[in-house]
Symmetry: C2
Subunit: 303 residues, 2 copies
């Protein structure tokens, strides 16, 4: 099956079917975070660094880095943010911008093979982004909208994704380096948003054979207790074939659902990660002897 390899200078992450789901931390993004935007604009990247460390500690295998601040010098800010993050963590990065110049500047200084987030099906964007993705041997997120916007028809979204995959091939980028984002709408505004994505995921896996990702939080926008909706959405998406997502690993409900989905998908061997994460804290503190005792306690509690 299709494997997409993303790397930093020292670490590789593989996104693929029949592998554990890859969590890409979403936090380093000034959109809707006034304080972070203000700090970044003023050259203070301490919160960026702290967010990077916290997300990796919470289990993110990759980090998305976005520096989209209106009226700021986005290419310079994105370059700085990526340097700061690469200085403190070794996880690969999704370089995230809607400004092509920012992507281009960041890919130049990135150490490793990044994931470029993103290219759309718009002609102008395709022909500006794909050449430097190809030149640097990077991977790229393909967002399934084009000049006509985001279609509510999953078949049209599939066709846009297919067009991007084909165009990437024309530029020498293999399908294994294209990760499709089927686009996730808020379920509170559009009741079919979930089913559309689940259906698209199946076709993207079976027909295009590409890996997939999404901005997961969008699905629960405006709903109460929203992290449960996001987590359940991701579990159902994993069941339908999604292989990575840009999400917040600090939200326990989301991370727990992903870990459980990995177990149920047969991607957590012997349930080792699940058992480790859900050990009795007293037992974890007690070490090996405690583990043996804990084994019995768990069996009793679980029955």
């Amino acid at each position: 099956m299709t494997d997409t390899v993303i790397s930093s200078a020292t670490k590789e992450v593989v996104i693929g079917f029949g592998r554990p789901f890859v969590m890409i931390g979403e936090r380093i993004n000034p959109t809707g975070r006034k304080l972070l935007a203000e700090e970044m604009k003023n050259g203070d990247f301490s919160r960026v660094v702290a967010d990077a460390i916290a997300q990796v500690e919470a289990g993110a295998q990759m980090l998305d880095v976005n520096a989209g601040i209106p009226l700021a010098d986005e290419p310079a800010l994105l370059v700085r943010a990526i340097k700061e993050v690469q200085a403190v963590t070794d996880v690969p990065i999704a370089i995230d911008s809607s400004i092509v110049e920012a992507l281009e500047a960041a890919i130049e200084i990135y150490e490793g093979k990044p994931l470029i987030n993103s290219v759309t099906g718009e002609e102008e964007v395709l022909e500006r982004v794909l050449p430097f993705v190809a030149k640097h041997g990077a991977a790229v997120v393909a967002i399934s909208n084009d000049e006509t916007g985001i279609s509510e028809d999953p078949n049209i979204r599939f066709d846009v994704a297919k067009k991007i995959v084909n165009r990437a091939a024309d530029h020498g980028i293999p399908a294994s380096d294209v990760i499709v984002d089927p686009l996730v709408m808020p379920i509170g505004a559009m009741g079919t948003a979930g089913r559309q994505v689940f259906e698209l995921l199946g076709r993207l896996r079976d027909e295009l054979k590409v890996n997939t990702t999404c901005g997961a939080s969008n699905v629960s926008f405006g709903l109460p207790n929203r992290h449960h909706i996001t987590g359940t959405f991701l579990a159902m998406s994993i069941g339908a074939g999604m292989t990575s997502a840009i999400m917040n690993p600090l939200h326990t409900e989301v991370k727990t659902a992903i870990m459980a989905a990995d177990v149920l998908n047969g991607q957590d061997e012997n349930c080792a990660a699940w058992i480790q994460a859900n050990r009795d804290p007293a037992e974890a503190a007690a070490g090996a002897g405690g583990r043996r005792r804990g084994g019995r306690r768990r069996a009793a509690a679980g029955s």
Copy 2:
């Protein structure tokens, strides 16, 4: 799509694709509940009655009733349990026994159209159970094992399900009155248990066009924090096409995952049930005025 109607004397429940998932409360079952078994054997059904009321209050649309106690007069106990439950709730019942005589005695006194739980693919069981299911116009759970046991090959389990559906038709029972249980193994013992069920659910929906159910708790047997595993399993199963399950509605993690899956499957119109269940308690107490204020609070908290 296929609708299965189950009823009590005064209430109908419809299990079907494109409908909210149906939760069948599992609690009234003396297996592994020594105290309940002891009480039932001694003619004390107060806990059965309390479990019935609690599960319906927690959202169960149906109740499974089982009286399987070794060396007890199971037909008499099952009849009594069903009478007690029907006296205090109006939800339809899944009459649950592996003893054919118990099913036969219970169906005689049941008020409404019950779900008989269950028939297997074993010749002797098929030919004893299907005639009285047909005679009473009941629905039946078809468990996909036969004389050779439970196959680890999902294709064989599909074939057994198909055989039961065909045999039911021979007895005049329509496929819409057969609910297939694909059989759920503990994921801790068999890493493929989840994927097998997800795959089977798709085939049962698309090829046999039958509704489905399962004993959900089994999937998480022996694991820590097991209710999260069960809930996530059910959400993924709902995504794959499962339409009902025998589960514990009192386990918040399980019920929350099912409600979220209904939202994401487009089966909770305007997310009304989700919003109602997740309202800020202060706001719920304040009534209509509070709802308006709460609307803004929710929006702020959700952003």
